[in-house]
Symmetry: C2
Subunit: 250 residues, 2 copies
DNA sequence: ACAAAAGTGTTATCGCTACACCCATGT
DNA sequence: ACATGGGTGTAGCGATAACACTTTTGT
């Protein structure tokens, strides 16, 4: 792709500030790009993060976000999907770009820019792949994070901040639940993310009044109390409401 | 910094997926990194974007976001500040990272990843620098965007979406106004960003009830109607309210 | 019978909307 | 005097918080 790149001192990129006049353009093509995935799930009333244990230096033995270098001819979104798929077996899940991190000294081997991605997955769909590194994968509670390699702690915290904002304004919480869920589960999920308590009656009235949930006519089974109705998120309804100016808010 | 980088096939970075086993690590250090700045101001009841006209190919003659390549030893936030300072003479203004853009084919010269930054400036503080390229700098209304080079239109639109969300949840609108402003100006600003109308009385009651504005005891001058009080944003008050669990919302 | 969580109804209050009205200044 | 935007008060409505209560299942 760039084998024929000019290495003259001309301002080929057209940047206006003269910052790199007289500096060969090749000198700027020294960066590597990686993606790091913040994969979140919901389990046992808590938000859980998928981390791997590093087997090599630097930061050997520490927990880290799953990630990888991006190939020079690979779109970075594709790379993030690749990491996610390799690790969890899942694709077609919620996957969104977060921030980028590029401190000069963040990686000992050279200038590596990393782009954070975050993914919300339904834990019941997750089956760790039977591969050599699967043994190193663990879920940790986001309220009890271990020490993480590189600047991964920053990445996670910024994602969680972002999630707390987004979950209030967009119906993405459902990504963390099974297709069919009870209102109780939904409420507990919101309570876990936002670290609050809601009144049961009021929570139900609010969410049901939005007409975003479809009653599946099924009931919970194998619970030692009154079984709850199972609902599913009605994406079609949401999209048609959006067009009419509806805005989700919790 | 990376002149001593190993080019063995070892998995030096410790990535777990085997994606690049047998591929020399050097092959991954072929990216360039740039920053592109979405510099927004508020003038004549509209949100304005600072663009430059490109003098060189590709996209010669088109309008583009001001940006530059990042030096291999430069932090990208620093690069964004550099671009902003070179162009507007301003520093210490609101400058935040937006998304990154890395489509394989987004730049003809090679694999250039760009990180979008956005900045909110008070137009009354802006003085275009007297430099050779200053003549190519223009403000355009964000509702009447010209064709933009590269994927810059995407960048601008994502920043504006982001701004509309953020301005409702954080008191950043003030960055676009002079230090001292009237409630009328503040209301017009919110109306311009969110593309709505507010009731004057209600807007005032809401914003004043937050106790975030300091009455400067000064009045507007040279207006042909009753002069308005001038307020300033009380950052101290905001920060101490934050600690008590206050959350801004408009 | 009891525990445990599902599910519902009622009331009081708070906040927001809509709208009417007055005020100070320049022309 | 009038035009213009600044600035304020209030009545009514709707959403929400708080809380009590009933229902259905398993043990």
């Amino acid at each position: 792709m760039n084998s024929s790149r000019s290495s003259s001192t001309e301002d080929i990129l057209g940047h206006q500030f003269g910052a790199f006049y007289k500096i060969p353009i090749d000198k700027f093509f020294q960066f590597a790009l990686s993606v790091d995935c913040v994969i979140l799930g919901y389990h046992e009333n808590g938000i859980k993060l998928l981390v791997i244990e590093r087997g090599t230096e630097p930061h050997k033995g520490k927990k880290a976000l799953p990630g990888d270098l991006v190939y020079p001819t690979e779109d970075m979104e594709l790379a993030a999907n690749r990491v996610l798929k390799d690790l969890t077996g899942l694709d077609e899940v919620y996957l969104t770009q977060s921030k980028s991190y590029g401190q000069v000294d963040r990686h000992p081997i050279g200038r590596v820019i990393t782009v954070g991605y975050y993914s919300l997955i339904s834990v019941d769909r997750y089956q760790p792949l039977a591969s050599s590194w699967a043994a190193n994968v663990v879920w940790v509670d986001v309220n009890e994070l271990p020490e993480l390699a590189f600047d991964h702690k920053n990445i996670v915290h910024e994602v969680l901040d972002n999630l707390r904002e987004t979950v209030r304004l967009q119906p993405i919480g459902f990504e963390l639940l099974p297709k069919k869920f009870t209102l109780g589960q939904l409420q507990e999920l919101y309570e876990a993310i936002l670290n609050t308590k809601f009144d049961k009656a009021n929570f139900r009235k609010k969410i049901l009044s939005m007409n975003l949930l479809k009653d599946t006519k099924e009931l919970q089974t194998e619970v030692s109390h009154r079984p709850a109705k199972l609902f599913s998120f009605d994406k079609k309804a949401y999209e048609s409401l959006l067009k009419k100016g509806f805005s989700f808010e919790m």
